[in-house]
Every structure is written in C-alpha cells, then in structure tokens.
C-alpha cells in the first residue's frame, strides 16, 4: 500500500501557501497532520497531483482568548488542545471531546483544522463545534471570509471550502453564566470511529430553567446534526424524566442513520436517543452545580 506520485511543496508563509493553492487548483491538496489524508492516499482512494505541506506555517499554530472568544489556529495539534488549561476553563466541551479522537499517537500529529476540513460525519471536533457554535475563517489568495459552523459542513467529507481555499482559524464563543456541557460517544473499540456521538452545551437561569441549549448528534446524518427542534422545546424548561422522553421521541423521528458493517440503522437510532438523554442530563447536572 503505497501512495501514488505527487509534487511536494513546503511553503513557509501563509501567502505563499495560498499562491501555491491558487496555482494548483483542483490538483492540489493541503497536508497538515495527515492522519486522515495519508491513509486514504496509501489506499489510493485519493491521488492528488500536488501536496502543499502547511506544517511550517507556525502562524497557524495557536490558542488565544480574545473578547470572550477562543481562537484556535488550524495547525494546532489535537494533543495541544487536549492539554490546554485555557480551553478546559473556557470550553470544557472541547476538552472532553478531544480524548475520543483516535489515539494519543494520532492526536500528537493530527490538527484541529484538519479534522474540520476532513468532515467525517462522526468526528469529534466538528460535532463539538456544532454544539458550542462558532465560525471558521477561510482564506484564499485574493480574499478571506468567515463561515458559521452551521453553514460549513455540506455532506460526507465535504465542506464549504473551495479547492483554492485554506481554513486558517476557528472562533468559538465562550458561553457565560451557569454552563454545563457533555460529550459522549459509543464505538466498538476505544479510539474507533464513533457509531453515534452526542454533544451538548446548555445554560441555566437562576431557577434552574434552561435558558439556552445546543444539542448536536454525530454519526446519524451526513453532517453533524444540530437538533433544532429539541433545542427549541427545551428552552425555559427544567430537565425531567418526562421532558427527556419527549426529546428522545423527537430525536428518534428526526434522525435517519445509514446501516453499515458496524451498526444497523435501527441500532444507531437507538443509540442516538440514549446518548441524547445522557448528555442532556449530565450537562444539566453540571450546570446546576455551577453557581
């Protein structure tokens, strides 16, 4: 299993990377951590003519807190995000999600932005971002733009990114107040792709009623699914057995997962309801404990 031939470029500035990307168009591909790209190249499922290696663009490797927003550079290694005290404090959901990605050894190399642009429907970073809300910054040779996470994922392994564009950084809003979060997933073995994953972040008012909630499910649709209907009916409510049952019913009819070797559609739908209840309850309990 060896990759097909390709040209290799290693720019040292973002500008030169964007120029190279512009010149190579559909034939070019960015490589960062390579933890998803290299396997598919080894299997020759992908045979790009040209690889543009962004591992030397140190400007894209950062974690910053700015105006109640966390900014993460696209090249930031997943292991750095996992270990970041800043992220643990300001976006606990992400800290909880990252250890589910692959293994220690792949997180050492895999990047934050790489996971987003690969856009596997069961991947942890896209799902957490969907639950926390936020946006991605995208640059090409001539312009840059910001895309909300809700508009970024298009379908399986496909995003809003054009072949000449580079995702440069990710902005995640810091939620204020009595916040709770939870990330849970079921996989056949530790480190495998999730069969179904669930992420939730919520905020309570001083009477323990939900003032804001975002629940998102992974592995059930072609893109991470923000369950809008659930998020709407839970506003102003306290979590109860009855409410969770109602939410589970909504999730059951809202998702239509595919069957594959690893799990049937029915089983995935069942997992979606179970994980929904678990994440909501856990996030709620955590929020209640915070003053």
């Amino acid at each position: 299993m060896k990759p097909a031939k390709f040209d290799y470029y290693r720019p040292t500035t973002v500008e030169s990377a964007l120029s190279l990307l512009d010149e190579s168009g559909f034939d070019g591909k960015i490589i960062a951590g390579g933890q998803s790209l290299v396997p598919i190249m080894n299997m020759r499922l992908s045979t790009p003519d040209c690889l543009i290696d962004i591992n030397h663009l140190n400007d894209l490797d950062f974690i910053e807190l700015d105006n109640e927003k966390i900014k993460i550079g696209t090249l930031t290694r997943q292991s750095r995000v996992e270990a970041s005290a800043k992220i643990k404090e300001k976006c606990g959901l992400l800290s909880e999600a990252v250890p589910f990605i692959g293994h220690v050894q792949t997180r050492n190399r895999g990047t934050f932005g790489g996971s987003l642009v690969h856009a596997d429907p069961s991947a942890e970073i896209p799902l957490s971002l969907m639950a926390s809300g936020g946006s991605v910054l995208i640059a090409s040779k001539d312009e840059s733009r910001e895309v909300k996470v809700e508009d970024f994922f298009v379908t399986y392994l496909t995003t809003d990114l054009l072949p000449t564009e580079l995702l440069t950084e990710v902005h995640i809003p810091v939620w204020e107040g009595r916040i709770g979060h939870s990330f849970q997933e079921i996989s056949r073995r530790h480190g495998d792709f999730a069969l179904v994953a669930s992420a939730c972040q919520l905020c309570l008012d001083d009477q323990d009623k939900i003032s804001r909630v975002r629940l998102a499910l992974g592995g059930v649709e072609a893109v991470p699914l923000l369950v809008e209907e659930v998020n709407q009916i839970m506003a102003g409510e306290k979590i109860s057995e009855m409410l969770l049952d109602k939410v589970a019913e909504i999730v059951k009819s809202a998702v239509d997962p595919e069957s594959d070797l690893h799990a049937s559609s029915e089983y995935r739908r069942h997992l979606a309801t179970v994980l929904t209840k678990r994440t909501l309850q856990t996030a709620y309990n955590r929020a209640r404990r915070s003053m």
């Binding site: 031939k5 290799y8 933890q35 290299v38 293994h103 050894q105 792949t106 073995r189």
Partner: protein
C-alpha cells in the same frame, strides 16, 4: 515529482538522503536508513507498530512522508539500547512477558518511552488509553502493562 534532499537526525546521527516525495517515513527508516527495528503493519495508522518519536512526540511513521521529516529529530527503537545493552523499559518487557512474537513491540516501546517522559506517574487507566493505539495479538496486554508499570516504579526509586 523529483527527488528531494532531506537532512534529519535519527537516534542522534545526521542522515542526508534523497527521497521521492511519496516515500513514507516508515519505509525511509527501514529501507533508506537500514533501521529495520521499526515495523510496518497496516500502513494506515491503525496498528501502531511503526510508531517512532518525531521531535519529542510519538507518531505513526506510516502517516508521514519522509520529506516532511526534513530538519526533524527522529528516535527509533534502535535508540533505546545503550552500548548494546537493552534499555530499562526493554529489559522489563523481556522480564514481564511484554512480548511474544515481538512485531508490535518496537512501536509500543516508542509510545511508552514518549508517554513516560511526559507522564512520569501514569495511572493504569492512562496507560491503557495510551496502549489502545497499539494492536498486540499475542500478550493480551497484561505483560506489557506490567512491564511499563515496573519501569515507572524503578524510575521513581532512581529519583528518590
């Protein structure tokens, strides 16, 4: 598609070679440098047997191109022995039945070496999580875990 000149350090030794861009780091280490201690299993990042330490982090060498390692420092299993003697972790693998066929062993040794350097007193759970990135079909992992934990204890004694 030409040949790229790379200069990198493997186990403290500087290597200068020409490599094709598509040459995987794992193949370069084995075929280009003759260091066949690094094993190649699945070639898609799942089995962990090709794990080496690159600039102080354990990574899959089958998921990197050799050309990407230009200017970097690589440590392979050959770097663990001292003057022809097994290193402490290797000795404990031998004593605790941490291997049988030995195919997965070099990768696990490199992961464990990197992990212990950053987490000198890991919990059993943390070690199992680290080992989940490696497939071993002989030992059932029990001996591997014991060997690593024995090394942790010995390291503590050396420090105190």
């Amino acid at each position: 598609m030409g040949v790229h000149q790379v200069k990198l350090t493997i186990n403290g030794k500087t290597v200068v070679e020409g490599v094709e861009s598509r040459t995987l780091l794992s193949d370069f280490i084995r075929d280009g440098c003759g260091l066949t201690g690094t094993h190649v299993g699945c070639e898609h990042g799942v089995c962990g047997s090709c794990t080496v330490i690159v600039d102080g982090a354990a990574v899959r060498s089958c998921l990197m191109f050799a050309v990407q390692a230009d200017g970097l420092e690589i440590e392979t299993v050959e770097g663990l022995s001292q003057n022809g003697e097994l290193g402490p972790l290797q000795k404990n693998f031998k004593e605790c039945h941490g291997l049988q066929c030995g195919f997965c062993t070099p990768g696990i040794l490199m992961s464990a070496t990197d992990y212990l350097s950053k987490h000198p007193e890991p919990t059993t759970r943390e070690l199992k999580e680290m080992l989940s990135g490696h497939l071993c079909r002989c030992t059932g992992y029990d001996g591997i875990l014991k060997a690593i934990q024995k090394t942790v204890e010995e390291n503590k004694e050396t420090i105190s």
